[in-house]
Amino acid sequence: MIDIEQLLSVQSLWLVIKVGYLIAFLLYVLFAVVVMAQVKQMTKTIDAGMNGKLLVASRLHLLFAVGLFVLALVVL
């Protein structure tokens, strides 16, 4: 016989963990935004030969972070 109360408490535990995961992914998206903004600002200040590559990489990184946040929403 399954204890409903126990099942509920286990389910709510995983719900809390899921929210924690999503917050972590969201924080990573914010981190990616900060990286992109800083790279943009620094490449304006100085051109050390890798500006184009860094700008593209920082934008792809942000897209990647958003993609993973969406994946977390779907998978969890």
């Binding site: 992914f25 620094m42 100085i46 050390a48 977390a72």
Partner: protein, 234 residues
């Protein structure tokens, strides 16, 4: 008063006669350090003489960049080791006794989150190293501090404001790999410097070949004085 006008008049005549002589000299004409090293295209170098394709926002039109230095590449070892450890550690997750009880989707996303944290550490370490640089031009020195992703500080001082340049190499690894700190004392309070400090200075940390950096700055100070004497000051 009349003698002042006379002197100005004479100096104008003089400037006309010596116009060809007053052209700025090429860095290789007055700097042993510039002559000693080959130019490089590598954007990831920690020590580059007359780096190709480098430009700074505050640079004047005819100002030449003579040196770019970053912290010695070995100073990245600490965060690189941490990143390597973080990359391989998920292999040992399954050893944890409770790991099998975690649903597969949570296991999968947990590993992704772990690698994102690793990527974040890598990005911060790399960008801090890449953008934290010190630049010497034929007119000024520029210190770009990029301590973390939310702090940056750009300080510049004209060459003629530099009073003293000293360098320190301390420790076995710095001595072996030839890297150390260069301290540049400047006259008065400069841009971006702490007004509370009695002796304003700039310090370049863990720079490769600190003796060469100090020598180049000394050569530039001498050239600046020579320019003043010969009337080649811009």
């Amino acid at each position: 008063m009349a003698s002042v006008w006379y002197n100005r008049d004479m100096s104008k005549k003089k400037s006309g006669n010596t116009k060809a002589k007053r052209k700025r000299r090429e860095p290789a004409d007055y700097s042993q350090v510039v002559k000693e090293f080959k130019r490089t295209n590598n954007p990831l170098t920690a020590f580059s003489i007359m780096p190709k394709g480098l430009s700074v926002e505050i640079q004047d039109k005819d100002e030449k960049i003579l040196l770019l230095v970053r912290r010695h590449i070995i100073t990245n070892l600490k965060w690189v080791m941490v990143v390597i450890l973080l990359i391989i550690s998920p292999l040992f997750f399954s050893i944890a006794p409770f790991y099998d009880q975690i649903p597969v989707n949570f296991q999968f996303m947990g590993i992704i989150l772990w690698y994102l944290l690793t990527l974040a550490l890598f990005l911060e370490g790399f960008l801090n190293w890449y953008f934290d640089m010190f630049i010497v031009t034929d007119e000024r020195i520029i210190d770009i501090d990029f301590k973390n992703l939310i702090y940056r500080n750009v300080t510049s001082t004209k060459i003629d404001r530099i009073e003293d340049v000293t360098y320190t190499v301390s420790g076995a690894i710095p001595s072996f790999l030839d890297f150390g700190n260069v301290m540049i004392q400047t006259a008065g309070a400069g841009l971006g410097m702490d007004p509370q400090e009695t002796s304003p200075h700039m310090e370049i940390y863990d720079t490769p070949r600190p003796a060469k950096v100090a020598k180049l700055i000394n050569e530039l100070i001498l050239e600046e004085e020579q320019e003043k004497i010969e009337g080649r000051v811009r």
